[in-house]
């Protein structure tokens, strides 16, 4: 799922001088001299927030276009390791980030830029009267979640275990978006997803809080990809995400602050 946010850069006399060596000493974050494209590979749960960040980053740095590739985090790791042209990698968990680093594809030390918590997703009006994790095991409730290889699926298992709830899902979906769409369509009654996903879905679904004692906080790290030809622009994007502007954008999408 590639979304080309900004394509108009070519008109501005785009020279393939993508700042690989860029001998200029000025590494100030004003970055008016930067020009070109960067490819940001980001977890599917970041789709809406990163699209917004991409637009505001481009407004702040008119020379730089941001090209996003959103997919499940493990898929992104596979793509990067198979040579996909990524400059920045934003992961939905630390496990996949650690894997990328261990395999030698991280361009530096990753930085946590956001956190997210789990919520139970139900249909508007909560027709099955779900009030907490224990209700997922009620007879007549069709519960679905993500497969354990998907970070959200792994976290939902942890949350259920710490709440002492035993429930067999009807389906192990491949992404949080698939779980939400099945709740929207009415095929399933409840699922566990990120709070941000419920916020993004608006009035089509409703969230039920999971108490902090059994909730799992997901940590989102990002890093430059080793061998990027646009290290200056990649770092400038990362700094933008970590800046107070970037953080407040993420907060409007329901993310918890990085620390």
């Amino acid at each position: 799922m590639r979304r080309r946010v900004l394509l108009l850069i070519v008109a501005a006399g785009f020279l393939p001088a993508c700042g690989s060596g860029g001998g200029t000493a000025s590494s100030s974050p004003s970055s008016a001299s930067l020009s070109g494209f960067i490819h940001v590979f980001a977890a599917a749960s970041l789709t809406a927030s990163f699209n917004a960040l991409g637009i505001s980053f481009h407004q702040a740095n008119p020379g730089v276009g941001v090209d996003f590739n959103f997919a499940g985090t493990p898929t992104l790791v596979t793509q990067i390791e198979q040579g996909a042209p990524a400059d920045v990698f934003a992961s939905a968990d630390t496990t996949n980030m650690d894997k990328l680093s261990a395999d030698g594809y991280a361009g530096g030390t990753s930085k946590v830029f956001a956190r997210n918590q789990l919520e139970i997703v139900v249909a508007p009006g909560n027709p099955k009267a779900i009030t907490g994790l224990a209700d997922l095991a009620k007879p007549g409730v069709i519960y679905i979640t993500e497969a354990p290889s998907v970070p959200a699926g792994k976290y939902s298992l942890q949350a259920l275990a710490s709440a002492g709830v035993k429930v067999t899902p009807k389906s192990l979906e491949t992404s949080v978006t698939a779980v939400i769409s099945k709740i929207e369509l009415g095929e399933a009654d409840a699922g566990i997803v990120y709070a941000t996903d419920i916020k993004a879905a608006g009035s089509k679904v409703q969230g039920v809080d999971i108490p902090a004692a059994s909730n799992v906080i997901a940590t989102y790290p990002l890093v430059t990809v080793k061998g990027t030809k646009s290290a200056d622009m990649a770092n400038s994007f990362i700094n933008y995400v970590l800046s107070s502007t970037g953080q407040s954008t993420l907060a409007t999408f329901g993310f918890l602050p990085a620390a």
Binding site: T75, V150, K170, E173, T174, A178, S181, E187
Partner: protein, 261 residues
């Protein structure tokens, strides 16, 4: 059979075309962890997924034959307004992204779907998250291949044999089973095999309509996709198994049924 020298202008693109398919396969074979092959193949989830895949794809082919052959006959023999439109509609899944096909099936046969809500309230039948749902998703995507192949067979056959049998007093049913079906046997088999192969590899419509749960709706392509995210190399082995099964069937049947066609 006279051997013909292949002109160079044909040979070069033909070789590139063949390599385009063969090189990715070689990639899979080279990168597969063969020492782990036995463990990957005998893992209970693999066996379960493989069994489910075979059962579901064969069921989808059976449904395809029962419903698709009559439909092909109608397209080939009946004249009625809107036939071309109908044919286009029933073969749309060939070009529709399978995920969209899965959503369409949910809108029709899901718990809140056009027919599904009635099935649920009247009979208590819900199809999503069941093996029957897998068969439906696979049939939806694969049957068009059978319909088109059989229709082509019916159109190209020599209808004088049917007319002669009729003139000699055979009933329409007898003509169909004793004359028509044997004459179109090659296309019938080709259509069934294409349909089966497409059903075996089906992913998008299945995961969207039927979901993914081991032993119930997790077919091999779904298992491969999920294993890919945790153990990339094991997923190569699983893909090769699917591939090998299909290859054996395709080569075997082509030789047996289409060799002279």
């Amino acid at each position: 059979m006279r051997r013909e020298r292949v002109p160079i202008v044909v040979l070069i693109p033909a070789a590139i075309g063949a390599a385009f398919f063969i090189v990715p396969l070689v990639g899979l074979i080279v990168r597969s962890p063969w020492h782990d092959a036995v463990a990957a193949l005998t893992a209970p989830e693999t066996v379960e997924a493989l069994k489910l895949s075979l059962v579901a794809s064969l069921s989808a082919t059976a449904v395809g034959l029962i419903l698709g052959v009559p439909l092909a006959w109608v397209y080939a023999r009946a004249e009625f307004p809107g036939r071309d439109l109908l044919r286009a509609l029933t073969t749309l899944p060939m070009v529709l992204p399978p995920v969209v096909g899965g959503i369409a099936l949910l809108l029709a046969f899901g718990r809140r779907g056009l027919l599904g809500s009635w099935l649920d309230s009247t009979f208590g039948i819900t199809l999503p998250f069941t093996t029957a749902g897998v068969v439906m998703a696979e049939t939806f995507v694969a049957m068009p291949f059978l319909i088109l192949t059989v229709e082509a067979g019916l159109r190209s056959m020599d209808r004088r044999y049917e007319e002669a049998a009729r003139a000699l007093g055979a009933s329409r049913w007898r003509v169909f089973t004793r004359v028509t079906l044997p004459l179109i046997a090659p296309s019938l088999f080709a259509g069934a095999v294409l349909c089966w192969a497409r059903a075996l590899g089906e992913f998008g419509a299945t995961i969207t309509f039927a979901g993914n749960f081991p032993g119930v709706t997790q077919t091999m392509p779904l298992a491969v996709y999920l294993v890919l995210e945790t153990n990339q190399e094991a997923s190569f082995i699983l893909s090769l198994v699917l591939l090998l099964i299909s290859l054996v069937v395709l080569v075997g049947l082509r030789h047996r049924w289409l060799g002279s066609a």
